[in-house]
Structures are given as structure tokens and as C-alpha cells.
Symmetry: C2
Subunit: 277 residues, 2 copies
């Protein structure tokens, strides 16, 4: 592990670290905020999965999450959104390839050897965090923004018992039916749409649901709302009678100004689940 940087923040430490990912077959960089309490023993962990074009850094500097994590005594990890570096495939489009891993394991060329973000988030990075940092892996929750909201929702539903609560800011909620989704699922997983369903939170919500609390915020003026299709997820939540809070926030758009405005609510929501029992 290489320590890229460590800055004191809100009584804790905002670190940036680089490690070798066995899933992605390359070095990966992530941010980790550890609150002051981590000096005395393991603390709960909140995952924050970022959206298209982001690295580990965007939310770390713009979402204003650390202050609330410090207040609650929980750690937050900010993974990158794709493999990167020499020999890693890419595409000219902002929404495919590097910065756009979509939290799946790619089976198609040229993505297959490195683009295994599902395994990276589900297996590789958790193992590494458990070994290297004072984190209580029995207390994990997950959230994300846009493509990261998609990742948070699909991982939470596919890994029952892993995460105590899940939330999303403006998630890509129905990728099998929108251009933010169909393009990437086809590129990474191939033409057989049956393989896509495991990566659509609206489909998963209908089929499985989530055994825990769920919080979704979407801005009513989100400029990408037609690509996100929150109505599909809202419909699935309602049909399933999934315990959830789904909020349309008047006048807000897709930006980090929207995310940071409601971050306090999301961290408090997860803290309640993380400290239950």
C-alpha cells in the first residue's frame, strides 16, 4: 500500500491510498476518511460510490460528507469508478471505459481483463480495508450518486446481509431501459439482455427487494432525469411494499450542490442503522 496523502479533517484523517487490485489487475486509488474514534478501535463503514467521470477525489472534496461522518464516528470510503493506467482499455466517450465502470464485471473485449468493478467493490477492496484499517466490517452501509447510486442499490440487493442500509442521490435506476445503461451493459456484458437484469435496481427491487432501510433523493430539476428513470424504481418500491423514503427535492439538479445539501440526512440515516443493536 502506498499512502498518497493524509490530511487532518474534522478531528479525523482524510487519507488517499493506492493498492494493487486483484480483481482489476491494476493499481487502484481510493479515499478513506477515518474519524477520531478510529484511534481507539474499529469504527463502522459507509461506502460512497461515485458517478460517471469521477475519480476517488470528487466526492472526497465536494460532497461535504466528512463532517457528518466525524459527528457520527463512522468511516467513509471513496473508491474510484473504474480501473485506470497503462494497458487499461478506454473509450473517447465520457460514459464508457475509464471513469465509467458501471459496477459490473465485464465479460466482453476490450474491457474484460480489467473492468471488474463489481468484484472490486464486493470483495477486493473490503478485504484490503479489513486488513489495513480499524474498520468494523460487521457494520457497513452503502450510498452513491448517479452511476454510483446504481452501484449502491444493485450491490446492496445482491449481497443480502452485507449492508445494513442503502441510499442514493439521483441514481441511474433502470439502466436496462435507458441510454445511461443500455450502452454500457451491452459493451461490458454483451448483447444478451438476460445478463443485464442483475444490474438494474428496478428489476432487483421487483425480484428481491432490500432487507433494511432505503433512502432515495432526486432533484426535481435534475437535467438527466430522463436517463435516470427514477419512476421505474419508485414503481418497483411501491409494488413490493419495500420500506423506503423516496424524495423528489424541488428545484435541485444533478450536481454536487444537490448531493452536499442532503448529505447530512444520508449520513444520519446510515448511522442509525450502523449503530442499531
Amino acid at each position: 500500500m502506498e499512502t498518497v496523502s493524509e490530511n487532518r479533517a474534522f478531528g479525523g484523517v482524510q487519507g488517499v491510498y493506492k493498492h494493487h487490485s486483484h480483481s482489476c489487475h491494476c493499481d487502484m486509488t481510493f479515499g478513506l476518511f477515518l474519524p477520531e474514534e478510529a484511534r481507539d478501535g474499529p469504527v463502522p463503514l459507509l461506502w460512497y460510490l461515485s458517478g460517471l467521470t469521477c475519480t476517488h477525489e470528487n466526492a472526497m472534496v465536494k460532497a461535504g460528507a466528512q463532517q457528518w461522518a466525524a459527528e457520527q464516528g463512522i468511516a467513509i470510503v471513496f473508491p474510484d469508478t473504474s480501473p485506470r493506467g497503462e494497458g487499461v482499455a478506454d473509450d473517447e466517450a465520457y460514459d464508457l471505459g475509464q471513469g465509467a465502470g458501471f459496477y459490473v464485471n465485464a465479460t466482453q473485449k476490450p474491457w474484460a481483463p480489467h473492468f471488474n468493478m463489481w468484484d472490486y467493490i464486493a470483495e477486493d477492496l473490503p478485504s484490503f480495508l479489513q486488513e489495513e484499517f480499524p474498520i468494523d466490517m460487521s457494520r457497513q452501509s452503502i450510498c452513491g450518486h448517479s452511476m454510483g447510486g446504481h452501484g449502491a442499490l444493485t450491490l446492496a440487493m445482491a449481497l443480502p446481509g452485507r449492508f445494513r442500509s442503502v441510499s442514493a442521490f439521483a441514481p441511474i435506476a433502470n439502466p436496462t431501459a435507458a441510454e445511461w445503461g443500455r450502452k454500457q451493459l451491452r459493451a461490458y456484458l454483451g448483447d444478451d439482455e438476460a445478463a443485464w437484469a442483475a444490474h438494474d435496481s428496478s428489476v432487483l427491487m421487483r425480484d428481491k427487494g432490500f432487507d433494511g432501510p432505503l433512502l432515495i433523493d432526486v432533484g426535481s430539476d435534475d437535467q438527466f432525469i430522463d436517463l435516470l428513470r427514477p419512476e421505474a424504481l419508485a414503481g418497483a418500491i411501491t409494488e413490493r411494499r419495500q420500506p423506503a423514503t423516496f424524495r423528489l427535492q424541488k428545484g435541485y439538479d444533478h450536481s454536487y450542490f444537490f448531493v452536499s445539501t442532503f448529505m447530512e440526512d444520508h449520513v444520519a440515516f446510515h448511522a442509525e442503522a450502523l449503530y442499531a443493536d
Copy 2:
């Protein structure tokens, strides 16, 4: 005026605007957060002056100030740190020219025609804000970071009655005696050091002081502390018996992680002065 962007944030609006500056003889861009209360009438104003290399954008996205301004019902303006654009002089160094205006009116070539950041902050931008936005100009306070802390302190002391309170994060506190200062003051104001004293907050503190409350935070692990010379300002404050709170924050550095950690305190400090009487 050109509206570059407007995003809803914390119940208010984070705008970015471009206007023609009479002082700097070029177009200037600034950020302005207006809280929800501004829809009903004029609100108090907090100035945030940024440091070397920054534009209007850095603090706007990284300092986490809007949430506290929203809570207090005050506006925050984020000016740029220098003139920019075609025909505006620059230097290869990060600490001279564009991004490094140092809040002075340059008298020397090649800076003299455009680099009038003192007048821009003291006269030009206030007039513009008063004309265009619902701001109560009888209620203003000022803060800043690093070079912006220098600007906030010198403007506050040089313009008695203008600002009700002043604060700084890791200010360049004694620029006539440090390499962050001597280089720029010589370039902008010439070799006669007598002209520099009006832009040294430690000198101004000895000579005039500030008629209001003052708050200073400096990280004990600030990597630039030898260039900032906070000890000179602390000495001057003490000798003058200036009412002030001066804090060395253990383990913090010069970054926005430091600034954002203590932003809540600074905004609350200014709000108390802005709402007095």
C-alpha cells in the same frame, strides 16, 4: 452581467456570474451564494477571499460554507483572485500574476493596467452586488484563506466601518517580511518598501487595529507556516490588546480540509456580528 450557472444548494442558490470590472479593465467572474431568505429581502453579506492559484470556484466547491450561510441566512461572495483573460499580464510562477493578485493596486509594469484587486474588492464588486442582488450592504463581514486571509485582514483594517467582523484561515500575516509577500509587493508596487506597509496585516495591526471582533485559525502542521509568519500577527494583536481569538489547530495543514473543518465556527462568528443591534 452574464449568468454562468445557478444551482440550488441548501435551500438557496449558488450562482456564478461574469461582469465587466471598471477597476481591472476586464471581465471578472465571481460566485455568489444567496440563502432562501434573499427571496424576501436584502440579506447580510460575508466576503470569502481565496488564496494563491485559486479562482472564484475553489472555495465555492470545497470549503463547505454554503450550508452554514444557509443556516444563518447570509450571502457569501467568492471573488476571483486576479484579473484574467486576453491582454492580461501573467508570470510562469504560481505565486505571481494571474491567480495571485495579492489584493493590491499594482503601480508597476506589466501589472499596472489590470491588477487592481484592492479597488475591485473595495469598490467595484460591492457596487455591482448592491445594484444587482438583494444584499444589505450595511451588514458586511470578511474572511479569507492564505493570500485571501491577507486580503481580508488588510481590507478590514484599512476600511474602518465597512466590515463588522474579520476572520482568516492561515493568513499570509506579515508579507513585508516573508517570501510570500516581498516578491509580489516588489513586483506590483515597486522597490520602495514604504508602499508595502499598507498591505501587511501585522503592521496595520500595530498601527490601527480593527474595531470589531477578529478570529484567526492556523494549522499547527501547516506546511507553509514559515511563509505565513502568524507569530508576527499574534505579537501585534497581543501588543495592541486587540480583541481577538487566535487558534493554533493541532495537526491541521494548509488545505481545504483544514478550512472546511473550521468553516462552521467562522460563519457563526460572523453571523453574530452581522445580526448585532
